[in-house]
């Protein structure tokens, strides 16, 4: 049986990716805001009737006439104009059943392509809850193409679509091309004929929006939500972190008891266990942070946050369109920078790319958590807040303020970009689906552990080698590690970093930290484990750095990590997305200079204040 090529198209946030995941069993990222899919994704499935299907999930588009890079992908694939991509046999146009006025207009545009198509009324459960009644047969007759109902978030919700895929391909709609005005009139007629939308249901969203989008209370709510998130990162994670810490210590003790003294023992205990154990302990904090982010994504709150912040972003020369890429950068700057493809204005896109690395990615969390645990006492402030959580909140806040400051500075040089008003679709609120949140958490946990296995593990092994060889001379007076290759490298870098209060151990750890920021923590653990006089001293990195560094050094290092371009993947993706080594150089230089100056100022001010 020949494979049926099917393309999923639709407005952003109509549930295409959820439908794709449900049909193919994939685990692509799903969120309740527009612009999550920036490239097309592919998967396969076999229908209940045994028909093999190749399914493409295309980026959401508001129109096929648009010029933004991601919407162009959608149009080109539908028209068979992408090299190596077969023109789809069938276009499945997904529409949000709760927002037909907007989505049906796009369905009419797709129909104009003259390809076999079917319209899928997705989110029928939400429509039913709101009391929206849709006469499917009447709508199909009006559209001239088959219409099926789905609920992508439910296992049985895709059966009508699967049954249709088993049938013969739907016929192509025959008709004259429509002007924009005719399309608009057609949609209005269809809604009047086939859809009954009671006003009372939307009123619930309106009431919530009355608070959430309020110019003052909305901002208070946003700040409180972020604040709660960072408090929870510290308040909830401790027991799980203690458990991991005990497990790592157990493995270390067992290895120490089982292996004789020698290089293998040193590699396993001082290198691998110390390095990986030092990083893996932060998994609970990362998962708690993402639990909040995923729940907010799913609820429909985040586009409201973009709407609220549009005014402030405009002051910095950006618009709310930059919000989603910048928000994605809190997970990782790489997908954040890729998400800038949905920004049409090239100047705004470039500005967003250049400030995206300033957003606090999850790889910074282990570094922040380590330094905060070592230098900030765990005590309550005003009998309510955790001081460590407050400091973490301040670091995230500092990153956002810095990004806006840099964007504002750049806007001074790029001239008048003209008016680019933000048009943003505000989806309905809904409770986060536990399944999607769980999938997101499992994925985040898997990504973190994969990074531990594929980046941190090899970097730790290499660092152990560099920190162990050559051995110290017989008449050595300093610790052996200082005579090693890594020790020499640390001392060689020291003149550049000494004004910031950094030690040679920090200088060593900064180098492998370029591969990924969290490697810094593992590298530091290895360096201190090898430099320790006994195994007991190597157990607790937090205690060691608290004893070895001054508060000024720790704060300077935190300031360094707020700004520094300490991630090769980010640099590579800036190069790819800007297609310019010059702009990549600009990004690296400005971030490094900013990091050095911020760390220097922090170190000097802290020294002056602490006398």
């Amino acid at each position: 049986m020949s494979t049926l090529h099917v393309a999923l198209v639709g407005n952003p946030n109509c549930g295409k990716t959820a439908l794709f995941n449900r049909l193919t069993g994939s685990r692509e990222k799903v969120a309740n805001y527009a612009g999550v899919t920036v490239e097309r994704k592919a998967g396969t499935l076999v229908t209940p009737g045994g028909k093999p299907v190749y399914l493409l999930d295309l980026p959401g588009a508001y129109s096929l006439a648009s010029a933004s890079p991601d919407e162009k992908i959608t149009r080109d694939v539908c028209l068979g104009q992408v090299n190596g991509e077969k023109q789809p046999d069938l276009i499945v146009c997904v529409v949000d059943a709760t927002n037909l006025r907007l989505h049906l207009r796009f369905a009419l545009e797709v129909r104009e392509l003259g390809r076999p198509m079917v319209v899928v009324l997705n989110m029928m459960d939400a429509a039913a809850r709101r009391g929206i009644y849709i006469d499917r047969e009447k709508l199909a007759k009006r559209l001239g193409v088959p219409v099926v109902e789905t609920v992508a978030v439910s296992r049985d919700g895709i059966q009508p679509l699967l049954a249709l895929l088993d049938d013969t391909c739907p016929l192509v709609h025959q008709g004259l091309p429509l002007s924009r005005a005719q399309m608009h009139a057609d949609v209005t007629r269809m809604l009047n004929d086939a859809v009954d939308v009671p006003r009372r249901t939307a009123a619930i969203d309106d009431r919530i929006d009355g608070v959430v989008l309020h110019p003052l209370w909305g901002l208070v709510l946003l700040a409180a939500t972020m604040f709660l998130m960072f408090q929870a990162v510290y308040a909830w994670a401790t027991p799980f972190m203690d458990l991991i810490d005990a497990g790592v210590a157990l493995v270390g003790d067992w290895l120490a008891a089982s292996l004789p003294d020698g290089i293998l023992r040193s590699l396993l205990i001082d290198g691998i266990v110390a390095g990986i154990g030092g990083v893996i302990i932060f998994l609970p904090q990362i998962l708690i942070l993402f639990l909040f982010i995923l729940a907010l994504e799913e609820s429909g709150y985040l586009p409201r946050a973009a709407f609220l912040l549009d005014r402030f972003m405009a002051g910095a020369g950006l618009t709310g369109r930059s919000f989603i890429p910048l928000l994605s950068s809190f997970a990782c700057a790489v997908p954040g920078i890729m998400a800038t493809r949905s920004i049409q204005d090239p100047r705004e896109r470039l500005a967003t790319i250049l400030v995206a690395p300033l957003m606090t990615c999850s790889a910074r969390l282990p570094v922040y958590a380590l330094l905060i645990a070592a230098f900030i006492p765990q005590r309550e402030v005003a009998g309510l807040f955790n001081l460590q959580g407050l400091v973490l909140f301040a670091l995230y806040f500092a990153a956002i303020v810095s990004a806006m400051g840099v964007a504002w500075f750049m806007s001074r040089f790029r001239g008048n970009a003209g008016e680019h008003a933000l048009l943003l679709e505000l989806p309905s609120y809904h409770l986060p689906d536990p399944r999607d949140v769980l999938i997101g958490l499992v994925e985040r946990g898997g990504i973190f552990l994969r990074r531990v296995g594929t980046i941190i593990f090899p970097m730790t092994v290499i660092l152990w080698f560099l920190a162990s060889f050559p051995a110290a001379p017989a008449d050595a007076v300093r610790p052996a590690i200082e005579y090693s290759y890594a020790g020499q490298l640390g001392n060689w870098l020291l003149p550049f970093f000494a004004p910031l209060g950094f030690t040679w151990q920090i200088c060593i750890a900064l180098v492998p930290g370029l591969a990924a920021r969290e490697v810094f923590v593992g590298a530091l653990a290895t360096v201190y484990a090898l430099g320790a006089v006994d195994d007991a001293a190597a157990d607790q990195l937090t205690g060691l750095i608290a004893a070895d560094w001054s508060l000024a050094t720790a704060l300077a290092l935190l300031a360094w990590y707020v700004f520094a371009p300490q991630c090769i993947s980010t640099i590579a993706v800036i190069r790819r997305e800007t297609n310019s080594w010059k702009m990549t150089g600009v990004a690296v230089v400005y971030l490094t200079v900013l990091a050095w100056l911020a760390a220097f100022a922090t170190y000097r001010v802290t020294l002056a204040l602490s006398g």
Partner: protein, 55 residues
């Protein structure tokens, strides 16, 4: 454990790690230089929005 076996295991781990890091660096350089390639779907970034590489 025999000293030679110990040395062989350590050499294997260090050599393998060096090879792995060099390979990742080479792939990164190639991807950075290929602006038309789009995302390679390596998933190393942490939240890759692409399931398969673009052709």
């Amino acid at each position: 454990m025999h000293a030679n076996a110990e040395f062989a295991i350590v050499a294997l781990l260090v050599g393998g790690s060096l090879f792995w890091v060099a390979r990742a660096a080479w792939r990164g350089i190639r991807a950075a230089n290929d602006a038309a390639a789009g995302c390679g779907g390596c998933k190393a970034c942490g939240s890759c929005p692409t399931a398969v590489p673009r052709r």
